[in-house]
């Protein structure tokens, strides 16, 4: 049965026929996705050990398909095409794959570097940019063909004046078909403007020591890089690039000694609640709350361990936090109004990531060493589903396709 043949049938017949055919042809891969459907309630779970991607349906808590042979996915992240049909998978081994969520096929795949960390899709959807560790820099591809459009080495001068290439972290899309990223080894933030077709790079130096990851707010205005080398973060206001990059929350630890950091925190999306931004402290069992107006420190909330992801439910009423090894079997939920911890959940061993459904009624949590994904109702805080998945790590839902910076 081809798509074409399906298209000739009256709409009312399509679904029952697809279902009955499916029953007839169980096991035949090409028919499983013949059903006409949208992608708004789909997503993917990265299965890091097996290098596979589980395509999931968030309405029915199902794994629809498994896409394999995606290479080393040990720190893989995913972005979506503008039409929310294709997932761009950024593998640790430098592999960039474009996966069709509806058919489960890898439509394009390129080995574009030796070691990469993540990427972003441009505002107009035409470009996909990848942040590379080795060789350090950014590569930009056509999002439909994965043909290379630009290569931008992340060069800088080291203390001896010698030219070096830096690992690139915290690559995000910004309005105006621009990309912003940070140079881990150089302590710089770079802005690349692709609006005229050719990359135009603006560099900001001395932004702070060892930026390890970054995020951009939902309006695409503020880019914030977390700093590993010092207590503080770097803030870049894209509305006023001429003002440069400023340091915020300097000395948030107030000189207290840091704990050993067994895992770098992640900055993803924007944990905003009202007029406050919620951020992970490095080397401390604390979530930092900052005033998003003047970026002063409002509160340091003591939590279970060193936070990795600090994520706000879409309605901003709760913040969910997971933790670094060895405290990584726990997720805590903080009420944003009272700033009190209202729940401490144990979804399984080695919790790596959390993803809210588009309107936040549920959250999916990956527990790597328990080989499962656990789904919670965010209102009752009760578990509502559990899916088998081998070494699950990142979870990404397609509503990210339409959000700046995700």
């Amino acid at each position: 049965m081809t798509r074409h043949a399906m298209a000739m049938l009256p709409p009312v017949l399509r679904k029952p026929l697809a279902v009955s055919l499916l029953a007839l042809l169980t096991g035949c891969q090409t028919t499983t996705n013949a059903e006409l459907r949208g992608t708004g309630d789909l997503g993917v779970v990265v299965e890091r050990a097996t290098g596979s991607l589980a395509v999931v349906d968030t309405s029915h808590h199902r794994v629809l398909d498994r896409v394999e042979e995606l290479g080393d996915l040990s720190h893989a992240s995913v972005k979506f095409s503008r039409d929310a049909r294709y997932a761009f998978v950024f593998g640790r081994d430098g592999g960039l794959s474009r996966v069709d969520l509806l058919t489960g096929e890898i439509t394009h795949r390129v080995m574009q570097s030796g070691n990469s960390i993540g990427g972003a899709v441009s505002q107009d959807g035409s470009l996909v940019a990848v942040a590379n560790y080795e060789p350090g820099g950014v590569k930009i591809f056509d999002s439909e063909t994965l043909e290379e459009v630009a290569e931008i080495p992340a060069t800088y001068r080291d203390d001896n004046g010698k030219a070096q290439r830096s690992k690139v972290v915290g690559l995000v899309d910004a309005p105006g078909n621009r990309f912003v990223y940070s140079l881990f080894d150089a302590g710089e933030i770079h802005l690349v403007d692709m609006s005229e077709g050719n990359p135009e790079v603006t560099r900001f130096t001395d932004i702070g020591e060892a930026p390890y990851d970054a995020l951009i707010g939902p309006k695409g205005r503020y880019y914030i890089a977390g700093l590993f080398g010092e207590d503080g973060l770097a803030l870049f206001d894209l509305w006023h690039p001429d003002a440069g990059v400023q340091r915020i929350l300097p000395d948030y630890g107030r000189g207290e000694e840091r704990l050993p950091v067994y895992k770098m925190p992640h900055l993803e999306g924007w944990a905003m609640a009202g007029d406050t931004a919620w951020l992970p402290a490095v080397g401390r069992h604390e979530v930092l709350v900052a005033d998003s107006d003047d970026w002063s420190l409002v509160e340091r909330i003591p939590v279970h361990g060193q936070p990795i992801f600090v994520m706000t439910r879409p309605d901003e009423r709760q913040v969910w936090v997971n933790f670094a090894h060895p405290d990584n079997n726990v997720v805590q939920v903080i009420d944003t109004e009272s700033r009190q911890i209202i729940a401490t959940l144990t979804p399984g061993e080695a919790v790596l990531h959390m993803e809210f459904t588009p309107r936040g009624e549920q959250v999916w949590i990956s527990a790597r060493d328990s080989d499962r994904v656990v789904v919670y109702d965010t209102r009752t805080l009760e578990e509502v589903a559990r899916l088998d998945s081998e070494s699950p790590s990142g979870i990404f839902f397609t509503n990210r396709a339409h959000r700046i910076g995700l």
Binding site: D72, S74, R92, D93, E134, P260, Y262
Partner: protein, 111 residues
């Protein structure tokens, strides 16, 4: 404590050092947990295939540039001025030596 129990304990103590020398006294479960730690948690910076990430690659040749004790000490104490933490809060000396031995002799990245 009744006498036979003490005798048994003494007997066990006599055997322990021998066993430790021969095969190490880490349980199979603990060794499994250390292997998971190495590839999954150390792997979050060094890569699950040890090919590197924010931290450097850990190929067999590089690991054998250290002595076993030196590498174990590096794991326990970390490297000042870098993102490599000291793991002594979570690992015993014996466990660090097991990891060092694994990196030097059972390293999947044979480069």
């Amino acid at each position: 404590m009744p006498l036979p129990a003490i005798r048994q304990l003494l007997l066990a103590l006599c055997w322990l050092p021998m066993a430790a020398l021969a095969e190490g006294s880490l349980s199979a479960e603990r060794e499994q947990a250390l292997e998971t730690l190495l590839y999954q948690d150390c792997g979050s910076c060094h890569g699950m295939t040890l090919r590197g990430g924010l931290g450097p690659a850990l190929p067999m040749s590089r690991m054998n540039a250290y002595s076993l004790d030196g590498l174990a000490a590096l794991i326990l104490n970390g490297v000042a001025g870098t993102a490599m933490p000291g793991w002594k809060g979570l690992l015993t000396e014996e466990e660090a030596r097991w990891l060092a031995d694994h990196l030097q002799n059972d390293n999947p990245l044979d480069e």
